[in-house]
């Protein structure tokens, strides 16, 4: 009963419905192989949305994730060009992404600048840095080593490594969010920052941690993105930050912080991913794509809207009705 009422259940239902509608026009879409492909395609969105979720839970927002992704992706490609071995590159993008996230987090934590202002600024700075590094030049498939490109697409137990990475991160995040003090701290800081202080949680430090996690995930995704699409340039993933925020919102992460789950977030990302992948397949003109995803976002927020204060229910007979 209460399971049916949860946001996650509604979202799962909506997703099944969506798949059913698509399948009715194009049965091939729901073939396991194709669904696996959709999942793989959506992996970057899932990874970034998980990072964004943590940040939003703490009452912040990170508009710089896509720029962070692009910068880390470019650095990965440049390192590959210098012959750095892949494990080192992976470590480097994780560290660099975390460092860029930490820069955001530090400005929020130590100087108390609102996160939207900080990340609005760093978003242009990070992307601009790519330009400064490369003079705007692209790094193309033929300039990348075979192993660099092969890693995310190597198939393992029927799924590419990229998808496995997403699955692993989802699993780790699910445990972190529900079963560790840090995870609970994210909810506490967003749910009631004032009360968090009273329980010994530092609001700023927790927000900092959130930005570092979001940054590290963006860094990792940067490599995956560049290797998958085999190209790196200034504008990759341009505007992707809004997709990421949209995925979180659709997934029921409260923009005011403190509420939302990993499951919801993943489903929000998958929902967008399915729409994006299905439109060209179902034969809906690409020109409709934008309006459709905009409407999906609006419908999702209407669904997720927390009811306004339902009142205190003082009357006895009213209590029984609810």
């Amino acid at each position: 009963m209460s399971l049916l009422k949860s946001r996650e259940a509604i979202l799962a239902l909506a997703m099944l419905l969506l798949l059913a509608v698509i399948a009715s026009r194009f049965p091939g879409f729901v073939a396991p192989r194709n669904l696996a492909g959709v999942f793989t395609d959506t992996s970057p969105l899932i990874l970034l949305a998980l990072g964004q979720m943590v940040v939003i839970l703490t009452k912040c927002i990170d508009l710089s994730v896509a720029a962070n992704l692009a910068l880390c992706g470019m650095i990965a490609a440049l390192m590959d060009g210098m012959g750095v071995p892949l494990p080192l590159i992976l470590l480097a993008v994780l560290a660099l992404g975390a460092a860029l996230g930490a820069a955001n987090g530090a400005l929020v934590w130590l100087l108390g600048i609102p996160s939207i202002v900080v990340t609005l600024g760093t978003m242009t700075i990070y992307r601009g840095t790519i330009f400064l590094l490369t003079g705007g030049a692209w790094i193309n498939a033929h300039q990348m080593s075979a192993s660099f490109k092969a890693f995310p697409r190597a198939v393992f137990l029927g799924l590419p490594v990229m998808a496995w990475i997403a699955i692993a991160v989802v699993a780790v995040m699910a445990v972190v969010m529900t079963r560790t003090p840090l995870g609970r701290a994210f909810y506490a800081v967003g749910g009631n920052p004032h009360a968090a202080v009273y329980t010994g949680i530092s609001v700023g430090r927790t927000q900092f941690a959130a930005f570092v996690i979001a940054g590290a995930l963006a860094g990792l995704t940067g490599y995956l993105w560049v290797a998958r699409y085999a190209v790196a340039y200034v504008d990759i993933a341009g505007g992707f930050e809004l997709d990421v925020v949209a995925a979180c919102v659709i997934g029921g992460i409260a923009i005011a912080g403190g509420a939302g789950t990993v499951a919801g977030c993943v489903m929000g990302a998958l929902f967008l991913g399915i729409i994006k992948n299905a439109l060209p397949v179902v034969g809906i003109s690409p020109f409709w794509q934008m309006a459709i995803s905009g409407s999906a976002i609006l419908i999702a927020i209407a669904f997720n809207a927390r009811k306004r204060d339902p009142g205190r229910i003082i009357l006895k007979q009213a209590e029984h009705r609810t």
Binding site: G135, A137, H142, Y233, D235, P280
Partner: protein, 306 residues
């Protein structure tokens, strides 16, 4: 005093335009008294180009040679430039006639339209379904080429063009659109991508889908970016004009017009240095040369150049 010619491109950092800049520098060296200002916005928007042009007008450059992001949106600004005595020509991606003195096409649009479908047909002796993966829905030249291609499609009766999709010149979107095409049309035999971003993404998508040999990717691309895919077999062949020559020619034309030793009017001929000369048609447009086809036999040789 040095003549300052601004080479305005769609966006900085695109290999094709970097190569064009090489040609422009070559022309400047040859001419001696020319300084090239290579500039452009960082994303392919008309608004970005307008800001760039405004600052060029302010610097009172002598000539602007532009590859436009939008046929019409730049017209008022370029008109203003001409009003202030600046020579304006467009090259590669054109501007509407009111906004420039002449347009240098890399090749003629009908030739390109024919070329891209011919490239597909050449490797489809038995015919089959092909689809087009274009750039943005607003890019002038792709739209013209596809239009020209459709005009001559009747000459290739075996080839059946089933769809046109848009990858917005974004690697990931193009990749996804290419994937979508292969799913929607399981019998797809070729993807024609008349854009250097799209063709690479499509080749990558074909490789990832394990359809090398089944689906041939062709269209317009840069040898440096396509060399790997020709080698892997994802692309049998593709075409492009030489962007170095294009930048070189545009600079030469701008120079002569700004100097005043040539005029831009229908029927006029303008010398373009080592490339010979061009003749303007009734729309004050000129074509530089035929597109050149690259395949396994020659792609290596050119991939180090552009």
């Amino acid at each position: 005093e040095e003549m300052r010619i601004a080479l305005v491109v769609k966006a900085l950092g695109i290999g094709f335009f970097e190569a064009a800049n090489k040609g422009a520098q070559e022309a400047a060296e040859e001419l001696g008294d020319v300084e090239i200002i290579y500039t452009g916005p960082t994303d392919t928007t008309a608004e970005g180009q307008i800001e760039v042009i405004n600052s060029l007008i302010a610097q009172r450059v002598d000539a602007i040679a532009i590859s436009a992001n939008d046929t019409d949106a730049l017209v008022p600004t370029l008109k203003k430039a001409m009003d202030r005595g600046i020579t304006v020509i467009s090259w590669d991606s054109g501007v509407a006639p009111e906004g420039r003195q002449m347009q240098l096409n890399p090749s003629s649009s009908p030739l390109i339209g024919n070329m891209i479908i011919k490239l597909a047909a050449d490797h489809l002796p038995d015919g089959g379904d092909v689809a087009v993966l274009s750039a943005t829905t607003t890019s002038t030249n792709q739209n013209v080429w596809i239009e020209e291609m459709n005009k001559v499609a009747g000459d290739y009766p075996n080839v059946n063009v089933v769809a046109t999709v848009y990858g917005d010149d974004l690697a990931d979107k193009s990749y996804r659109e290419a994937q979508g095409l292969m799913q929607t049309y399981p019998d797809l035999k070729a993807i024609i991508a008349p854009t250097s971003v799209g063709i690479v993404a499509a080749a990558q998508a074909v490789t990832d889908a394990g359809k090398i040999g089944e689906v041939n990717v062709t269209g317009l691309g840069l040898p440096s970016e396509m060399a790997g895919h020709v080698e892997s077999g994802a692309s049998e062949s593709f075409a492009i004009w030489n962007p170095i020559d294009l930048g070189y020619s545009a600079t030469m034309i701008a120079y002569h017009l700004a100097k005043g030793d040539a005029t831009a009017e229908p029927g006029a001929t303008i010398p373009i240095g080592r490339m010979g000369e061009v003749t303007l048609d009734e729309n004050s447009e000129a074509a530089m040369a035929d597109p050149f086809v690259y395949d396994a036999s020659n792609v290596e040789e050119f991939s180090s150049i552009f």
